[in-house]
Amino acid sequence: MKLQLIIILGVLSSFLYSCGLDNYDAPGSTLKGRLVYNSEPINVSYNDVTFQLWEPGWQKKAEINVAVDQDGSFSALLFNANYKLIIPSNQGPFRSKLNAETSSDTILVNLNGDKVLDIEVEPYYMIRNPLFTVAGRVVTGTFKAEKIITGVNAKNIDEVAIYVNKTMFVDFRSNVAVATLTGSAITDLNKISLNTSVPTLVPTQTYVFVRIGLKIQGIEDMIFSPIVKVNL
């Protein structure tokens, strides 16, 4: 009786051991970095800008989507492999740059262990010198909009806006106060000023997070300035 029990237990525990033999290791290599223009990060809204990693050689094709965070950073936990990185067209407030290695917008990513990769892109505009001042409950932001892409591919500004929120998620969806200015109303790109008054916050909070957003005509995703915490 006792022997039987031992044998059964032995067989059962050998099943457990086989799990270790059958399964893959979890993906363990981190690919992280930022979307940058001349080493400056491109700030975007959360969950809106993504790029794709393709691993050639499999029967079925499916991309790995990597989302870009608000400050332009990204991070993905992956298997070691050779990936092709593509930023789909119409994605993000920028254009992909020509990659010298592939002579296309595809970037080859050879992942073997952790890797840091900054992706150079060419934004239509950059928000320069954002400065926020507070008077009472009115937050004022001044900045310069620098047109990066000029010539035939240039695009006009649809709208600029200042967004204020209670939390560190700040964009057109997540805000408690917003002020906008349409592109046609901007007289001087070098000095744009926007202000909005912050409503009473419940529960009381003595600080808010603000940033500037710029919408480009014909482009869905906006470009932003870094998020700044200001005290009221």
Binding site: Q52, K61, A62, N90, Q91, F172, R173, G218, E220
Partner: protein
């Protein structure tokens, strides 16, 4: 042993005795086979009836909750609050890829073509109906997915191990529209010209559908230019701008042919214009306006529960109701009788409330379609007055309200408890109460028992009606620059709604066209497709939490959240306004997020399983 051998031989010889052919080839007793069906007209009819019933539909009376997906209504049902909490629509939303159904229709067409036992006239009609259903399915597909592979015969796999020969690439969007138009033109002669037939294809329906199809193609060609990224290089999505005028002309011609034929007329049977408008949808006897319907019948197993799920709680015949609450966004869109727009004025300039003797007083002198579409506070349904009021407002500004239907509390200065909220609500977070302050009236059955689960309703779902055709004609005429004609057609529909001051050609603008369709065709399943083809969807549902617009007549106003308006009884014993009603505009507590329609939502996602099985299928734009 020997004994068994003999026995075995005996059994085998018994088997010999059977006539295998007759013994094994038995006619099934549980299904009908092709040879039986294609010899009998009434059996073919039941096959095609099944196909008619399976054409995909998005918003319809058998699925109330989809009407709450946008800004027409609030979903007063605990399981559907999420519709007002989502931040963005999924790329797969309202998609469809039902090639199984298309195969069945193709098989029907193929078998009908070879059937030789049917009367030739019947056969031609069935064949035309099969092709109509197929064209209809392709229209549903192209609205959702853009250009799709056009498959016209049942594909069969020969099991040779290589299915690649069955792969078909997507056609251009314009090719699918042209295919539908060509099919409609070709089958028209084989269909009966009768306005009495409502649930099968007729010549009138072909013209009605053609006007809608051409209008969609035309507006995608014209307004698609405003969203240049919503295209594919192969033309699977997007139609060239230059084709717009041609399609508008076709839409106008088809609509005018139908209007001028005189076979159909606008519904005018009741003196009260609001009652007339609501009756249009539930009157199944000799309805001159309905062109094509999905019909239901009591005690037949095919009934619908629109009345059951939406009936006012105060007079519910069962333990449910009140689910779809029209939004203030929609309710304020109905214009005044002098053809001007005005949002509801609830407060005086100095901030004090305006006091109304009856809650209906706020809604006087409005388009009659308002009451025909929406049950307002103080209006009647099934002969009983609705009980929509949110509570008592005291002179000092405090509100006394209950948390259940008809809750009772003691008011200050009184000894006994009394009702402090109506039996229809509105009560925040309480399902089936009128959380927006309104209930829906369109398609609500007046028959006793229609609100019982065991009975339900036989009110039909009108898929095409003459009112829409007038608006199609008006829109096409306007886009072709003929404002006089546009005004004439629009005035026909407006006059029926009590807006008797005619619009002049100077009044006809794009905003007017958009607005008229919004109020005439609310809760009829047009909103999403209209907003998509005008490329307005990403503008009006842009994900930003903005306040309710003050210009309801403008087409580009952001409307991402549904708002409501609640009546309160004013309690000020001895005061002049005691017992009168005041109104507050509110946003229901369950509405926490703004709708966001991204550019990638214009054409639904063709999922990766489909694309991997057939690599010729391209992905829709802006979804990566």
């Amino acid at each position: 042993m020997k004994k068994y051998s003999i026995l075995l031989l005996l059994l085998m010889s018994l088997a010999w005795g059977c006539n295998d052919k007759a013994f094994l080839d038995k006619q099934p007793t549980n299904i009908l086979v092709d040879s039986q069906i294609w010899a009998d007209k009434s059996l073919v009819l039941s096959v095609i009836a099944d196909l008619y019933d399976r054409v995909p539909e998005f918003q319809t009376i058998t699925g109330w909750s989809e009407f709450a997906s946008f800004d027409e209504g609030f979903a007063s049902n605990a399981g559907d609050y999420g519709r007002h909490k989502n931040t963005e629509y999924s790329y797969g939303d309202w998609g469809n890829w039902d090639y199984g159904l298309i195969r069945e229709v193709n098989m029907f067409i193929e078998k009908c073509g070879t059937a030789d036992k049917l009367d030739p006239a019947d056969k031609a009609r069935f064949l035309a109906e099969g092709r109509f259903i197929r064209a209809n399915i392709y229209f549903e597909l192209v609205k959702r997915m853009g250009g799709v592979p056009i498959i016209l015969e049942p594909l069969t796999y020969d099991f040779n191990g290589d299915p690649t020969y069955l792969r078909k690439a997507r056609s251009k969007e314009v090719e699918v529209y042209d295919f539908i138009i060509k099919e409609l033109d070709e089958i028209k002669v084989d269909l009966p010209k009768s306005s009495v037939i409502k649930s099968r294809a007729t010549q009138g329906l072909i013209l009605a559908m053609k006007s809608r199809v051409c209008l969609y193609a035309a507006s995608i060609a014209k307004y698609g230019a405003t969203t240049p990224t919503v295209t594919l290089p192969g033309g699977e999505v997007g139609i060239a701008t230059g084709l717009a005028a041609g399609y508008y002309q076709k839409a106008l011609t088809a609509a005018e042919e139908l209007i001028n034929s005189g076979d159909y007329s606008l519904y005018r049977k009741k003196e009260n214009l609001s009652e007339n408008f609501s009756n249009l949808f539930i009157d199944k006897g000799n309805n001159p306006e309905a062109i094509f319907v999905r019909d239901f019948k009591l005690k037949s197993g095919k009934v619908e529960g629109w009345t059951l799920v939406n009936q006012p709680w105060s007079q519910a015949e069962d333990l449910e109701g009140g689910r779809l609450n029209p939004s203030l966004n929609l309710v304020q869109s109905f214009e005044k009788l002098d053809n001007t727009y005005e949002t509801y004025v609830t407060n005086k300039a100095d901030g004090d409330y305006i006091y109304f003797t009856s809650p209906k007083d706020l809604f006087v002198n409005r388009d009659a379609r308002l009451e025909g579409t929406v049950m307002l506070p103080g209006s009647f349904y099934k002969g009983k007055q609705l009980d929509i009021w949110a509570g008592f407002l005291l002179a000092n500004g405090t509100v006394i309200k209950g948390d259940n239907f008809g809750a009772r509390k003691t008011l200050p200065g009184k000894a006994a408890a009394e009702y402090v909220v109506g039996f229809d609500g509105p009560i925040d977070n309480l399902e089936f109460s009128a959380q927006s302050g309104f209930y829906v009236r369109k398609y609500m059955d007046l028959a006793v028992g229609s609100g019982q689960r065991g009975v339900m309703s036989e009110v039909w779902w009108i898929r095409y009606r003459l009112g829409e055709i007038y608006l199609n004609a008006a829109e096409a005429a306007f886009e072709l620059g003929n404002n006089t004609k546009a005004a004439t057609y629009m005035n026909k529909v407006r006059e029926r709604a009590g807006l008797i001051i005619p619009l002049t050609e100077a009044n006809i603008t794009f905003d007017r066209i958009v607005h008229e369709r919004k109020v005439e065709l609310a809760f009829e399943g047009h909103e999403l497709w209209d907003m998509k083809r005008w490329r307005l969807a990403h503008i009006i549902w842009n994900g930003q939490s903005t306040e309710l617009t003050t210009s309801p007549g403008k087409s580009d106003q952001v409307s991402t959240r549904v708002f409501g308006m609640w009546p309160y009884k004013y309690y000020n014993p001895g005061g002049a306004n005691d017992g009168k009603y005041v109104f507050q505009k509110i946003i229901p507590a369950q509405v926490t997020n703004a709708h966001r329609f991204r550019l990638g939502n214009y054409y639904s996602d063709i999922n990766s399983t489909i694309r991997n099985n057939n690599p010729l299928i391209t992905r829709n734009p802006n979804q990566e």
